[in-house]
Symmetry: C2
Subunit: 245 residues, 2 copies
């Protein structure tokens, strides 16, 4: 908690270069510094229910949150995975249509809506960046539609692991050929809700990949990928997007 609150200076912020504020000039940061505040959530906590008023928009500074939709009978589909630097909320619309859940301890850098929208109007750098991020998310959502609509259970699992590996790599060190460690913040049930499967099917497919030595489990949540190319082969995609060196 106090640790998170230490991120007072935008210049020290870990997501400084990839969040919605990435392109801001020093004088724009001054405005941001004034309207921002941090909020912390514990793992498992609900950040906002679908239909609730969200008085802020925010950047994820630390941790992982999910966006999900639930039908009356309980069927749930995860529609977004928010990792550090991702943006939460929609300017101009304060009611979120999704449940937002912290699936690990999460720190948000929150902006009150009114001043943030004012900032968007007065400086192009924030709204340009937000448009870019939104277009990226739209592409990601469309890629995910292929996973949900057309892939087998095994391909779905491989796709999820590959995507998380890539995003963790993009944020941290480059993705080499060596073994990759994925610290998976999702339960089997959460994975199932992301992939449009049941948790039993997720478990079975993970066991199968483990049996074939494509992945190695280290406890429940940590997955080691000895050779990412073997995993990518299981996604059903053609020879990746050239992201791997």
């Amino acid at each position: 908690m106090s640790e998170a609150l230490a991120d007072q200076q935008c210049s020290d912020c870990p997501i400084r270069h990839s969040a919605v504020c990435a392109r801001c000039e020093p004088h724009e940061f001054e405005v941001l510094e004034q309207i921002k505040y941090y909020r912390n959530y514990e793992s498992g906590q609900i950040i906002s229910w679908s239909g609730d008023e969200m008085p802020f928009v925010a950047s994820v500074v630390r941790g992982v949150a999910t966006l999900s939709q639930t039908m009356e009978d309980g069927r749930t589909q995860m529609v977004g995975l928010l990792l550090p630097s991702d943006f939460l909320g929609r300017p101009g619309r304060s009611i979120s249509p999704y449940d937002v859940t912290a699936v690990s301890d999460v720190t948000l850098c929150c902006f009150r809506r009114k001043p943030f929208e004012q900032l968007m109007r007065t400086t192009p750098h924030v709204s340009e960046r937000l448009l870019d991020m939104t277009l990226d998310e739209l592409d990601a959502a469309r890629d995910w539609m292929l996973v949900l609509g057309r892939k087998t259970a095994r391909e779905k699992i491989a796709s999820l692991l590959t995507i998380i590996a890539r995003r963790e790599a993009a944020l941290g060190m480059a993705l080499s050929k060596g073994p990759i460690v994925i610290d998976l913040p999702l339960t089997r049930e959460a994975m199932a809700n992301y992939l449009g499967l049941t948790l039993e099917t997720v478990s079975r497919q993970i066991s199968a990949l483990k049996g074939e030595k494509i992945i190695v489990l280290d406890g429940k949540r940590r997955i080691v990928v000895p050779d990412i190319r073997r995993l990518i082969m299981e996604t059903g995609d053609d020879l990746d997007g050239g992201m791997i060196a």
Copy 2:
């Protein structure tokens, strides 16, 4: 063809009030008039292959186009349905990651990328509107993820018909309680590719809904919905979004 080319004046344009140019001022239209040009495509024609260079961004003026992704083995997932006023292409990235297909005769209002991007920089109205449209599309894509991931075949069909009925209604006359006519520009195969099903399953489910008098077929492509509420009940969603009077 000549009919489409008659749309020379933005002020007469049928999508004037809902496209990316919706919020433009008269002087901004003058710029648009100068950089725009119309292109026509016949039903079935490919507008752009995945990976191809697209030298323009565009608004759909007339007709229906689809965005889709195809895996090496031929599995195809439609990831977007572009109706009149929808925007096609991504500013700042000239290579489309999707196949774009005209599924009816289509007219595009095209803008060369460079001047369009310049326009976005100089006037806020275009980029504001584009951000809004992109956020709407992102929400739609996320809603579709629920359909793909969690709904049954019957619910998927009902959801597709409901969405098309709503979008046609939003563009044209208000959606009353009376019978609604849906002029479906999609083949069974295209519907299957949108819904993550096979065309046989689509056909069977449509037959089932027909058998229960929830829909009435008038030829192959025209569907009449006597009571939209009965159809909405089959989508699995809770009592719609209040869009119906």
